[in-house]
């Protein structure tokens, strides 16, 4: 029978907390960058300009149809070779995560914007608002409310995805777990600790998404 011992894990709690901090920073950073870029992608898709639409769609498909793991390795190893520049692992990790998030966020944004009834834009146009004003004051405020649950859920996935940046040697939570594994040979305990940390952070978020979704469903 296996004898559990969480003591070595507690001893290394500074490493776990540091790893958690790194995970949070990369998740949060890539969410913010992904949001900005995703919005840009979404506007390309909705621009009505065929070329922009196609480029944005191609970009999205590229990121949607290949595993993030492979993308990370590519960005870190292959892209610098192709471009003849040096890309640091931290930069590669943040960039790949952000692009990946952007591809998925763009789809959520697009769905949210398209879900706002045409009548709303028309009502804005009928009082003389410009397209930009309609988007900013009428469509986006309503769309963002409506897409909030999907956005939170995608961000939860993003948080979990961040665990993959350890493959290009960024010292996130999963990375720290492996380091502690190597030192203590307590992989079950360290994976359990990681699972608990993830759960403690993500559970409230999924609850929040569900709550907002329920409230929206009632109010509509």
């Amino acid at each position: 029978m296996y004898s559990w011992s969480f003591f070595p894990i507690f001893q290394a709690s500074d490493l776990f907390l540091w790893g958690l901090w790194v995970t949070v920073v990369y998740t949060f950073g890539s969410i913010v960058l992904g949001l900005v870029l995703g919005l840009a992608l979404c506007f390309c898709r909705l621009s009505g300009n065929r070329a922009l639409d196609w480029v944005a769609q191609g970009f999205q498909e590229l990121f949607r149809c290949t595993p993030l793991l492979v993308q990370l390795l590519w960005f870190y190893y292959a892209l610098p070779l192709l471009l003849g520049i040096d890309i640091d692992n931290h930069v590669a990790a943040m960039a790949t995560l952000s692009l990946y998030a952007a591809a998925f966020y763009a789809e959520i944004f697009r769905g949210g914007i398209l879900s706002i009834a045409k009548g709303q834009s028309e009502a804005g146009a009928a009082i003389g608002m410009s397209k930009a004003q309609i988007m900013r004051r009428i469509v986006l405020p309503q769309a963002s409310r409506r897409m909030l649950p999907a956005f939170i859920n995608q961000s939860v996935i993003q948080f979990k995805n961040t665990s993959l940046i350890s493959v290009i040697s960024v010292a996130d939570l999963a990375y720290m777990a492996s380091v502690v594994n190597g030192q203590t040979y307590r992989p079950l305990e360290s994976y359990t600790a990681v699972a608990v940390l993830y759960f403690v952070i993500l559970f409230p978020l999924t609850r929040l998404a569900d709550y907002i979704e329920r409230r929206l469903r009632v109010s509509e």
């Binding site: 070595p8 350890s166 493959v167 990375y175 380091v179 190597g182 030192q183 040979y185």
Partner: protein, 251 residues
């Protein structure tokens, strides 16, 4: 019922095997056949016990889990450290492993561990391995990139992400034979060597531990272990002459 009885009545001895870890382990993915000196050692133990050998596929970090969780009876090629000894039981040393730098940059050849411990150097290492522990201890100031597998560490050096990688003598020799771009094996001073042992479940009975330790001690002293190791290096064109000066397996 003690472990010897358990293994005998089961008729098989189980060890974790790791892919792409020549000369320790490797598996032909087409035939599923295992090779490597760790497998030879395990086969010897199995024949001593009169049972068959079964290799359960695993990875370096997971091989410990395999013995801890009872999926395997023994794990080979483990570097014993005091902290790890609190989690699994270790046998007497099977051989001694020296730590080396593998780098395409000849300037590093003359440097000691202390001189390599400099922020201007970036090294690659595989996460959670014994060389990872060594670099934590001896290269705290240097930049160290940790990767999931040895292969990724190699790619980091080949693609210029790191100036060199830290690994064991055995692995280093094989890698330099497999790919030129990785450079050559260098042994920084002082020569660091740690015992490589067999890991067993922490709760194992004394009889089993004593048996494995006796097996390890005997075969190390008599040179069988070295023979198995050297034989495992043959397919790569490595002989004892390729070994740097002053480095051996006997400790």
């Amino acid at each position: 019922q003690d472990t010897v009885e358990a293994v005998r009545s089961r008729g098989v001895l189980r060890i974790p095997g790791i892919l792409n870890e020549d000369p320790y382990f490797n598996k032909d993915p087409r035939t599923g056949e295992w090779r490597g000196f760790a497998v030879e050692m395990a086969r010897d133990i199995a024949s001593t016990l009169g049972v068959k050998l079964e290799v359960v596929e695993s990875s370096w970090p997971n091989s410990i889990l395999d013995v801890q969780s009872g999926k395997a009876d023994l794990a080979f090629g483990i570097t014993a450290t005091p902290q790890r000894a609190l989690s699994v039981a270790f046998s007497a040393p099977t051989y001694f492993n020296s730590f080396v730098i593998v780098s395409p940059n000849p300037e590093l050849a003359k440097l000691s561990w202390a001189e390599l411990n400099d922020p201007k150097y970036t090294f690659a290492v595989d996460m959670g391995s014994s060389q990872d522990l060594i670099s934590q201890q001896y290269l705290p100031k240097a930049k160290v990139l940790r990767f999931k597998s040895r292969d990724e560490a190699i790619v980091a050096v080949v693609s210029g992400k790191a100036v060199g990688l830290v690994n064991t003598m055995l692995n280093g020799l094989v890698m330099t034979k497999k790919t030129d771009a990785i450079g050559r094996v260098m042994v920084p001073q002082p020569v660091l060597s740690t015992p490589s042992v067999v890991a067993m479940n922490y709760g194992t009975d004394e009889k089993w531990k004593a048996f494995i330790s006796a097996w390890a001690e005997y075969n190390r002293r008599i040179g069988n272990n070295q023979t198995w190791i050297v034989k495992s290096l043959e397919p790569f064109g490595i002989t004892l002459d390729d070994m740097p000066e002053g480095v051996g397996f006997g400790g």
